[in-house]
């Protein structure tokens, strides 16, 4: 296809992506270098019978005028990145020199909002993803053995957790684990501990979020693996059996190698999706015990005064995180592409 025709076909789509994905990333970068204006203070002297005392007050009108004139705020350089709410260099250094041992250091880091969010985001990404793949493969193998007429309805039901709005799915779970909800009440009865609450302790909240993640993403892995299973040739399986392979060996040495490219695909999609974990934390009202990078940005923007600079700095670091996550995939695809061309 000639370059010119290609350009005309791709232009609308490309324009939309440049204007609303590439430019916002630039806008985030610029915003992250600025910080909101401080309030304008005026010093007045109030004179009474016992002499004059200077007092400082906020000049509301001047503050508003300044903020309207320069909505971006004042230039702050990289200081937003290093302040307490982000990379917190000073606090980390203090924690490092003041701590005795790794556990203590880790504990102190978890008091800093950015590190707390980063820890949860990474834990969520790297715990949920493997479980999704294993559970998805297990369901796919089990469903594949069902009689044909049961497969359709099974797939129908399995699609539900994946397709439902994430906020809605997590809300449904939230109501069920409430101390008065069905799961919460049953757990209290089973453990005999009427104070047990899945919402109170950080560890249990993390566990709940992980379980929600696995519940909502497994269907995706299941469907992909199930489709892949249909392409495993029956003759190979039969040959393996005639050679004396047990059922497990057939799964291990015939089926799973066929699934390997699918694992890469699911891994890629899941890493991208789990890294931006967001709605589940809002739906489960878990901000107190678990926060993710997306949640930090959301709460900065949602505050009484939106803190654009702070949100933008976190956004930039999230984007860098995504880039690091994607690098291996991009390198691999680039190699494949070159091999195909040669």
């Amino acid at each position: 296809m000639p370059h010119r025709t290609f350009l005309w076909f791709i232009l609308p789509s490309l324009l939309a992506m440049i204007l609303f994905i590439a430019l916002p990333i630039g806008s985030v970068l610029v915003q992250s270098l600025y910080v909101e204006h401080e309030q304008v203070l005026i010093e007045t002297e109030t004179c009474g019978p016992f002499g004059c005392t200077p007092s400082v007050s906020v000049d509301q009108n001047a503050t508003r005028a300044l903020r309207e004139a320069q909505p971006l705020g004042r230039f702050n350089g990289l200081r937003t990145y290093t302040d307490r709410n982000h990379l917190a260099f000073a606090e980390v250094a203090a924690a490092w020199s003041g701590s005795d041992g790794w556990v203590d250091f880790g504990g102190r880091l978890m008091n800093l909002p950015f590190y707390k969010a980063l820890a949860f985001t990474l834990a969520y990404t790297f715990i949920v993803t493997p479980f999704v793949i294993i559970l998805g493969l297990a369901i796919a193998l089990a469903v594949n053995g069902l009689p044909r007429m049961l497969k359709g309805p099974t797939i129908f039901v399995s699609l539900l957790p994946m397709i439902v709005t994430p906020l809605v799915g997590s809300l449904i779970l939230f109501w069920m684990i409430d101390a008065d909800g069905i799961i919460g009440a049953t757990l209290q009865r089973l453990t005999g501990n009427s104070d047990l609450s899945l919402k109170a302790s950080p560890a249990l909240t993390w566990l709940t979020l992980f379980l929600y993640g696995i519940w909502s993403s497994s269907p995706f892995a299941f469907i992909v693996f199930y489709a892949g299973l249909q392409t495993v040739p029956g003759e190979t399986l039969e040959a393996a059996q005639i050679d004396g392979a047990t059922r497990w060996q057939r799964v291990r040495y015939v089926t799973i190698p066929y699934m390997a490219p699918l694992v890469v695909f699911i891994l890629l999609i899941q890493l991208m999706d789990n890294f931006r974990v967001f709605e589940a934390i809002v739906g489960l009202s878990a901000q107190a015990n678990a926060s993710s990078l997306s949640i930090l940005i959301y709460s900065d923007l949602r505050g009484d005064v939106a803190q654009f600079g702070s949100a933008a700095a976190t956004s930039m670091m999230t984007i860098i995180g995504v880039a690091i996550l994607l690098t291996p995939v991009l390198i691999r695809t680039w190699r494949d592409f070159n091999r195909k061309r040669v």
């Binding site: 290609f6 076909f9 990333i25 709005t165 994430p166 940005i297």
Partner: protein, 293 residues
């Protein structure tokens, strides 16, 4: 199915059937439970005494005189104006899907038919864009939109959702177009069509299965979105998902939780219908990128 390779021992059949049944219960029970509970009063759905109350509707019978009540739905849809949110969702989702597909078909077709290196790079760029967390993009939009007075309108949200949808739409349609043989449009061009005429008269008539599947996923993306719609829409333009989140702020009053439960069930119903009608397309769409590599 009767070949040796497919014969299984009965213990394994029991085990794997049990596993499937367990999974089905885990997958479906939360929805059935919430659907059933949405017709009860708060005292039953969140029963302090015994969760069996939610099944029999003990408090519901005491408070309303019958085992079922539509009070939650009435409160959400009429009192709290959820119908407006539903209407907004309909508008936003409809235009997002139509515009996404229009742009995506043109772009995806071009990417599938161009053999140049930049087409590959564009696809890679789209992949990176697809990975961007939506809330980071929103933090880029918010300040400029405030300044230019674009904040709060449905049109703004639609355009933003279309753009965020584009990387995914391009990838999916690109892989569908790769499956349509090149000879088809090339022979039309030999017969004297321009590239666009070939696209218009030869490709469009055969592309609908791919477009429908991609449309379903665009629909899901726009319908399920929370980050963009919650941050970029003013209160009267809110769609269903942020509206549901809004109910939660006011759950301290007795009964308001049930409004949220009813709203959640109402918002899930269209998705349920969607799977009933389009299960095959959804499954084929999920696997389109994977199985073909």
């Amino acid at each position: 199915m009767s070949s040796v390779a497919h014969r299984r021992s009965s213990a394994l059949i029991v085990l794997s059937t049990g596993f499937v049944v367990l999974w089905l219960v885990i997958a479906a029970f939360p929805f059935l439970w919430t659907l059933w509970g949405s017709f009860k009063v708060q005292g039953d759905f969140f029963s302090r005494a015994d969760w069996m109350n939610a099944i029999w509707g003990t408090r519901t019978a005491v408070e309303t005189g019958g085992p079922f009540t539509g009070a939650g739905y009435e409160g959400a849809w009429i009192e709290k104006g959820f119908w407006r949110a539903a209407l907004n969702t309909l508008i936003v989702v409809f235009f997002t899907v139509v515009i996404s597909l229009t742009l995506g078909t043109l772009g995806g077709y071009a990417l599938a038919r161009s053999g140049y290196r930049y087409a590959f790079w564009l696809l890679m760029l789209a992949l990176v864009f697809r990975a961007m967390p939506h809330i980071t993009l929103v933090s880029g939009y918010l300040l400029p939109f405030f300044e230019w007075n674009l904040w709060g309108y449905k049109t703004t949200a639609i355009i933003v959702l279309v753009a965020i949808n584009q990387p995914f739409t391009l990838w999916m349609l690109h892989s569908f177009f790769l499956n349509i043989p090149k000879d088809l449009d090339e022979s039309a061009m030999v017969d004297g069509c321009t590239r666009f005429q070939a696209f218009r008269h030869v490709i469009i008539p055969v592309m609908w299965p791919g477009v429908v599947t991609t449309g379903l996923f665009s629909f899901l993306l726009a319908y399920n979105d929370f980050a963009v719609t919650a941050m970029l829409l003013s209160r009267e333009n809110q769609t269903m998902v942020p509206a549901i989140a809004g109910f939660l702020g006011s759950t301290f009053e007795e009964g308001n939780v049930m409004f949220a439960v009813a709203a959640v069930v109402s918002a899930t119903a269209p998705l349920f219908v969607l799977i009933v009608f389009f299960q095959r397309q959804i499954v084929s769409g999920l696997t389109a990128g994977a199985v073909k590599g």
